[in-house]
Subunit: 342 residues, 2 copies
């Protein structure tokens, strides 16, 4: 109710020094004599003074705010990203302003405009892409942008991804080595680079073994749509003997349909593999073979890129691709069947 803002002037008055002395005391890298420092410290503590970040950023031009655009937290890969990224940035003295973009395309641009209004020092786009026009604008404003887990043609945009194509390839190789011959694929949102790359890598791997996709359906990265896709894929007489689902989140849906609606055993009747290695993937109920994307590594790389752009004013875009790790669990059979058991 009673709004008692205490400013640097109040502290200065109480300490018997000038406002600039107070400002200097709270600005790292400036020198104040021990004596006045003590006086200011005492006065500040008595009044409970803390510098106003907003006023500070008005003059320094840096807000110490990083905008994070994230499309949907339903996929449990992203909560982990939010958590790690926030923590990592907090350690650097930055904080995260979150923006949820409901719809794919138009929304992001609109949202990003709003972000820029806050004079953010950088933007992280997770599972979202932006128009080239807006990218140019951000570039012109000197606001660095990092795409997280997405790639885009625009070369002015930095990006951190894992090797999605390589990961898809690893999964194909695994399934092939286990003797699978009828491999289905359940796609994510077709506009996503992760979707395209994972599929391409998977197809490459099958092709290298003289195989091709046995079936393909689209799940759009959503649980319910993935369920429906699985139902369609297994409706026919001849069923796949293995399925690569474009991410873990959808893989859970597929496994649930196979087991509880169709009565299939995993991995005896069909192997299932996913991508991401979110926490539930290692829960015994799913025990899913997948490709691990290290959130920690991706976050560390993202923070490093942001800090470099901010501190060095380096406007050049960089792309970093981290290797994914194949994690073999119980949703894939352990070896090729020696004789036809079906």
């Amino acid at each position: 109710m009673a709004n008692e803002k205490v400013t640097s002037n109040d502290v200065a008055r109480l300490a018997g020094v000038s406002q600039s002395a107070v400002s200097r005391y709270f600005t790292p890298g400036t020198s104040v004599s021990k004596k006045t420092a003590d006086k200011i410290k005492a006065a500040a503590e008595e009044l409970g003074y803390r510098p106003n970040v907003l006023a500070r950023s008005l003059i320094t031009g840096r807000s110490r705010i990083i905008g994070l655009v994230v499309a949907y937290l339903e996929n449990y890969f992203y909560p982990e990203v939010v958590e790690r990224l926030s923590k990592a940035l907090q350690d650097q003295g930055y904080h995260v302003l979150v923006f949820i973009s409901s719809i794919a395309s138009e929304g992001v641009d609109q949202i990003t405009q709003e972000i820029l209004d806050y004079q953010v020092d950088g933007i992280v786009l997770a599972s979202a892409t932006m128009s080239s026009e807006l990218a140019a604008r951000c570039h012109a404003s000197g606001v660095p942008i990092v795409l997280f887990n997405r790639l885009q043609d625009d070369v002015r945009l930095s990006a951190v991804t894992s090797d999605n194509r390589g990961g898809g390839r690893q999964l194909a190789d695994l399934l092939v080595s286990l003797g699978h011959t009828r491999c289905g694929y359940i796609a994510g949102f077709e506009g996503a680079s992760t979707q395209r790359d994972r599929e391409q890598g998977f197809r490459d791997g099958l092709e290298a073994a003289g195989l091709s996709l046995f079936a393909r359906e689209v799940g759009n990265f959503r649980y319910e749509e993935a369920q429906a896709a699985a139902r369609r894929m297994f409706a026919g007489a001849e069923r796949p003997d293995a399925v690569f689902v474009c991410n873990d989140h959808m893989a859970f849906a597929v496994m649930d349909v196979l087991r509880f609606e169709l009565g299939l055993r995993i991995p005896e009747d069909v192997s299932v593999v996913g991508f991401d290695d979110v926490p539930p993937a290692r829960w015994p109920a799913y025990n899913l073979t997948t490709i691990r994307q290290s959130v920690d590594d991706m976050v560390a790389e993202t923070v490093a890129m942001l800090m470099q752009s901010i501190k060095q004013g380096d406007g050049t875009a960089r792309r970093v691709t981290l290797d994914g790790t194949l994690v073999v669990r119980g949703s894939t059979r352990t070896k090729a069947p020696t004789e036809e058991t079906r």
Copy 2:
């Protein structure tokens, strides 16, 4: 790189009007003539001008930022909260600054100080509590605070919770009605009000039926610790025939141990119930009977409380308790066994 900030002065110059006219044009509730409005609009669009939120908040005293403190996103109840809350606040023209508090007690106060540095208009503490001292400070600064899914003794703090005690009671009544007599309880973090209230309600319900807790272990809201708790609880010769786990997240861990380590059938051998109704609870793999806390309703209430405090300057704390809904699924048996089947 080349930082070209375009200010209201630039727009004013181009449009041939004063800076204050530009400001008025962008401030809702002020009047500008059609003619100058058009000129300003044209100039602003040409330059790509957007008001600087930070500068604006410096003078208005409101930042349109809400600080959100959240302890851990591992429990999938909270990602949903972050998403819905962000969206709801975005609709009101506010945005969410996220703070992750790693450790329980000390961390929150430290973090909250940092939040206040950003001149936030309000604070939401999800799964976290703060010291009374700091609460007093925020109260004095006129920054409204809403505890989300937590209660605290300090009456100056507003809070939104669901009826945890009633929910615990409902679950006890259900288990009793199904003929369970050896009911175990796996607790969350003991310092949490949700933990205490749910346990109390559960005990009340058992007591009303002439029963008492058959076993009790602590899982601290963490998956791994809940697994360990389940192992301890089922190590003895006489096992519980039903378990209430303080939240869904831990319930999944318990179910996984019961099924995949101990070979027990759910619900034939043991019924399991949880609390929250996070998305995986309705996935067939778990199909968990639980109490639904409506995130949407809780968020709506939270936003309403914040808006009232901000706009009306109403400093009085309010507490809202929403009813939880019992959702009966397949992790509880459907009726009491007619004869002893063990």
